[in-house]
């Protein structure tokens, strides 16, 4: 490793029990063409600063644990290769989330949004005795893109509206809700649409589109939000025409 190329990695450190404010610490790490940011962080933890905190698990952009801001851009550490940052890089925790320690952020708000929108098949009365609940390829294609979301939270870090208004349900939660709304096996659309049609639901989105740009799985949350708006507008029109008084009623007990 003595002859290996070196890279200066500035990592934001913050221990709320000791530090008054976050601060950047430069670390020199060895790298080759295959060194990912996650490898670099692990090198720092193993060899220089054992108390560095960051999340990681699968190392292959599947678990969505290792999201960080790399040079100000939301990225998965395991999917970002340091060979592309010859002049050094700055690593910070995901934006728009409270920092717990170093690069670890508090995802509570995001998880609450997910829980409220029930991103799973619900209301289907079928039992195992009914056999497999089959779908045609066309039915699968309607939601497949949105099912690629891995809950990494990069879209929340990219979303200026979530930064302005933390009550916004946010891109990933709405994308996953939309994924189940489009699923032919699901029966929970009505309840999800009611939550998404609140002030902090889909209407807080102004279609900046950065969420789709940073999504590591190309799930296209911006498209999901636009489709939800169209569906929400139709739902609004239908409820006005039918004079239903379901608006504002019991906005989800869990919500």
């Amino acid at each position: 490793m003595a002859d290996a190329k070196k890279l200066l990695l500035k990592i934001q450190r913050y221990n709320p029990e000791k530090d008054a404010a976050p601060y950047l610490v430069p670390y020199e790490i060895p790298l080759d063409d295959r060194t990912s940011l996650l490898d670099g962080l692990q090198y720092v933890k193993d060899n220089i600063s054992p108390d560095l905190s960051f999340r990681s698990s699968c190392r292959m952009a599947i678990c969505g644990s290792c999201g960080v801001m790399l040079n100000g851009e939301p990225r998965l550490a395991c999917k970002s290769f340091l060979r592309n940052y010859a002049n050094g890089a700055t690593v910070e925790p995901l934006a728009n989330f409270p920092v717990e320690k170093d690069l670890v952020v508090d995802f509570t708000r995001f998880l609450e949004c997910l829980e409220a929108l029930k991103p799973y098949i619900t209301g289907n009365p079928r039992t195992p005795d009914d056999g497999p609940n089959t779908q045609t390829p066309t039915q699968l294609a309607r939601y497949h893109k949105f099912s690629l979301c891995i809950n990494c939270g990069l879209c929340y870090a990219a979303c200026p509206q979530f930064g302005l208004n933390p009550s916004f349900l946010g891109p990933a939660a709405i994308t996953l809700a939309h994924r189940y709304n489009l699923d032919s096996r699901d029966r929970g659309k009505k309840e999800r649409v009611r939550i998404m049609n609140t002030e902090n639901g889909v209407w807080a989105c102004t279609f900046v589109g950065y969420c789709s740009k940073v999504c590591p799985k190309h799930a296209d949350p911006a498209a999901a939000l636009q489709q939800c708006k169209a569906a929400g507008a139709l739902d609004f029109l239908a409820s006005v025409l039918s004079r239903k008084k379901n608006r504002g009623a019991a906005c989800g007990d869990k919500a």
Partner: protein, 114 residues
């Protein structure tokens, strides 16, 4: 989590915004090109062209009124959201913007029928 249960009227404004934006994106370049550039400078021998004759009919004027009013809703809805983005959107400012859009709608419709 305790998101507000308040249902929003935003779908109404969003539909008007979307319609105005779409119409503007599709029609505005053609209208600007034909009405403001091609016709005045490359007109049909000083005679009103087909499109101008269409605008003299009731349907034509209604289309023009729709184009003007929906463009107003689109632009003023965008202004409301811009104000929100800079944390300067109060209820009265939003009402002022949407009131202006409504006024432009009424004026353009009045111009058609009176």
């Amino acid at each position: 989590m305790n998101p507000t249960c308040k249902q929003t009227k935003e779908p109404v404004f969003w539909v008007l915004f979307g319609a105005g934006g779409m119409l503007g994106a599709i029609c505005a370049p053609a209208l600007i090109l034909t009405l403001l550039l091609l016709y005045p400078y490359c007109g049909e021998g000083g005679q009103p062209g087909l499109f101008y004759r269409f605008l003299e009919t009731g349907t034509g004027r209604l289309c023009l009124a729709l184009f003007i009013s929906l463009s107003a809703w689109c632009g003023l809805h965008r202004i409301v959201h811009c104000l929100r983005d800079v944390r300067a959107c109060t209820g009265s400012r939003a009402r002022l913007c949407y009131g202006l859009a409504l006024l432009m709608t009424l004026l353009s419709l009045a111009a058609v029928f009176f």
